[in-house]
Every structure is written in C-alpha cells, then in structure tokens.
Amino acid sequence: MKDYEVVIGLEVHVELATKTKIFCSCSTEFGGAPNTHTCPVCTGMPGSLPVLNKQVVEYATAVGLATNCTITQNCKFDRKNYFYPDNPQNYQISQLYLPICRDGYVEIETEEGTKKVRIHEIHMEEDAGKLVHDDWTDCSLVDFNRSGVPLIEIVSEPDMRSADEVIAYLEKLRLIIQYLGASDCKLNEGSMRADVNLSVREKGSSEFGTRTETKNLNSFKAIARAIENETNSQIDLLESGEEVVQETRRWDDTKEYSYAMRSKEDAQDYRYFPDPDLVPINISDEWLEKIRSAQPEFRDEKRARYVEEYKIPQYDADIITLYKPLADLFEDAVKEGSSPKEASNWLMGETMRIVKDKNIEPDQVKLEGSAFSAFLKLIQDGVINKTVAKEVFEAIFDGGVDPVAYVEEHGLKMDNDTDGLKKIIEEIIEKNPKAVADYQAGNKKAAGAIVGQTMKATQGKANPQMINQIISELLD
C-alpha cells in the first residue's frame, strides 16, 4: 500500500453567549417550551425588520483579535437562500463577501512541536430552528426558539494532518472563546459544533484529494472516530482504484458509521446577495481598540503567571487553567488570602475526583468562588479539620451552599476544648500501654494509634495538632 497523508480543515460553529438573539430581543435561553422565545423577526414574518445585536459584533471581533485575524472594519451581512422548514425566512442571514475576521491563526502543540493552524475567516450568522420528527404521523414539528441565536463560524485552512491535531485545535479555540466569555463551547450541548472537511493524498503530493464533509460530531471522541473511519474508507477507495465522491456525510456515533447526506453534485445554489434590511457595520479604530484593551488574560499567560507568581507546580497550573471555571475559583480564593498551594490542591484533588464520580466535565463545576474562599478560610483558621473538610467540600460543590452556615448547622467545628480532649487522650493512653511503651522507646510513629482512637472518640472533630501537642505533653 502507498503511504497516505490525511488533510483536514474544520468549520466550527460557536453559539455566542448573548442574552438575546442576533436580530431581535428574544431570549436565547436554552430549554424553554417550544416557540416561547419567538417573535415575528425570528419566525420570518413578512414585514418584520432585523436589528443587529451590538454584543454579537463585539464577541466576534474579540474572537478574531484573539486568533490573530485581521478585522474587516467595514463589513456587512448577506442572504444565503435555501428552503428548509427550520429556516423560516427561506434565507439565512450570514456573511459571504465581507466576513468580520480574516487571515488569522492559532498555535497548537503537537508531537513535533508548535504548529500554526491558519484561520481563513470568521463570520457572523444566525442559527436555524429545531426540527423534531414525529414518528407516528407523516410530519415534522418546528420549534423556532433557537432560530436567530447568534453564531460565529470559524473556517480553518486545511492545515491539520491528524485527529490529534484537530482535537488540539478545537481545544485551543474552546479555551480562547471560554476565556473571552464569548461562549461556553459545549460540544455535547451544541454550543460548539465542528464539521470536518477531509481528504487523503499520497504523502509528498502537493495536490489535494477530493474531500468529504462530515457533520454531526458532538464530542471529541466522535470527532476522532469519524476522522479515523473517513480516512480509512477514502484510502480503501483509492487503493481499489475508485474515486472519492465529494459529498456531505452525517456521522452516527452509536453505529460508528457515516452516511451520505447530500452529494455536492446537486450542490445548492445559494444566490447570496447583500441583505437590504441591514445597514453596513463600521468598526472604528477607536471601537476596535476598546475591544482589544478589554481582552482578558488567556490561558498561556495565566499558566505562566501561576507558576511565577503563586509558585504552584507547572502540572497544577496546566490543569487548573485548562478550564476557565477552575482558574476563576483559584484566583478568587487566592485573592481572598488562601494559600495558592492549598487552593490548587483542592481543585486538583477533590474537585477532579467529584467531577469524575459525577461524570461531568470540569467546566460544569458550579461551586462559587465566594464559597470556595470561605471554605478554605475555615481550614486555614482551624475551624474544621481535613477529615471534616472533605465532607464540607462535597456539600458545597454543587453551589448554593454557604460553608460557614453548613459547618455551624451540622456541628462540624473542630473541637478546641483542650481540657475535654486531654481527658479523652488520658483514657486512651491508659488503655494502650503497648503504644505508649513503643512511643517512649523512641518509635514516634506509635502515637498514630493514639491519634486514630482519639479521632474516633471525637467523631473526627478534634484538632489533630492539639492531639499531637497533648500526647507530647503527656508522654515526652
């Protein structure tokens, strides 16, 4: 068999985190009853007029700046004409001729080092409604709540050569966009969607092969599987002397198989033209500068700063900054005076354990920065000990629980009653002559048995430092 190379470009759709739709004042909130977030504009009623949401322009520009794009300061919207029941106007408002961002790139880490993936363009457009197919009757049901939700489409150049590179690129985009707050970028909920354009060619060839486009990829695993599957089937075709057909395929992740949706032979003729309902957009130098100066600290800088300024290990900084909510928790806690290492330990240890147990993603953590800071303060001030702390952490993890009130209510405060504790330890010492003998013979570890029994007797609420001190007073 010949040596083949896979060539991949991506079209990534990202739902922007605006409160309202792109062209009307309907809510973008997810999960409302069908058609409760609709109006004449987003249902394409005759005579309705779209008015652009300013925040959409700002988010799109911010993403463009963060991905090293040139901003098209004079841009406009075009109509893409096609009939489909989820598209009530019979056209989608999008940008063809003057997309808001062009010619950018992001850098990804690969086994061979840093690699640039070029971005061809980023454009703004509106999302379509949702079609539900009724199994019992011969009809489909349309819900327009999603119709008009703002999207940006990020189109890369065909610069990726493996599934790993594709995932590194998507992760990079996700981090940039999440740090900007421009979207939550959840593949499984559809707020980030990737279409994979893939072709294969003989290694060393400078010509591209015929490509296929695969849609409906809603997890990193699905993307990796679809790429492997599509690569192999194209190589099989070429090896058996057949040709790859340019077509759009839909991935079915449960069957690990893709099927043809529509062939590009009957490629649709979209008849784009400038949307006469929307006036051009002019992004002045001043406005651009304002957006630029509001750019947040991104992951790479944050990661370096955590090591430099807070002296936490590189590994910890890598993990914490991989998810913006964790980085936010870390910074809130440190700002409130927690020790960076202590804060980092709880994010790396217990947080990751609970995330795994609950089978959620780390960016779905709902714990508030204020609760996390207050919790760490309880430990630092010696109000709760480590054993109890784990219980408290679990209780506050899902958000909405005040750790101070929780500790009070459940009587979890560390027992700092020295006289009471001394009495308990004296009794335990009396019952454990062997441990005492060992201890006094120089085996300091023998104290562990006494500490353990004291903890048990106090239901875990005793102050471990105090126990050690009392043991030392009584036996040394």
Binding site: N35, T36, V57, K76, V142
Partner: protein, 97 residues
Amino acid sequence: MANIISDETIEYVGILAKLELSDDEKEKAKSDMGRMLDYIDMLNQLDTSSVEPMSHIFPVNNVFREDVVVNGDDRENILANAPEEKDGTFVVPKTVD
C-alpha cells in the same frame, strides 16, 4: 430583446424558487427576465470606475440593539400564523435530511 432566457434556465429558476410554472407562465417569465437583463446591460454601460461599491442605498451604518431581553412569550400569537400546530410547534411535512 438582447437577452434570451433558455428553457433550462427558466426550469432551474423555477426549481430554486419552488415554483411550478405552466407553459404559458414560463414563456411570460422568460420574456420578463430577458428584459430585466437588458436593463442591467444598460446599467453596465455606465462608467462606475470612480464610484465606491455599496451594499445599501442609505448613507447609514451601525444600527444596533443593546443585548437586553425585551420580548416575552408570544407563542399564541406566533402560532396563530401556523397552517397547523401541535404541542406548541409548527407542523410541516416530514422533512429529514
């Protein structure tokens, strides 16, 4: 009329517009479209080399809305436009890609 619209073109335009035209209507549409293209040819004779291309006839740009939810639930009114409704949705002929 300088521009002649072919039968294939009018057939194709009909498909794009989802219109079924009778033979008479096709002939009429062919002649209308031919005349429209003639008019465009006339415009194309003008020297526009010193005119900035524009996408809009008004000298207006940057008409924006602030990102504030104003619209509430108006489902009843919106669905009043549906040819048929079911469970708060528009019912359409079964459409699967």
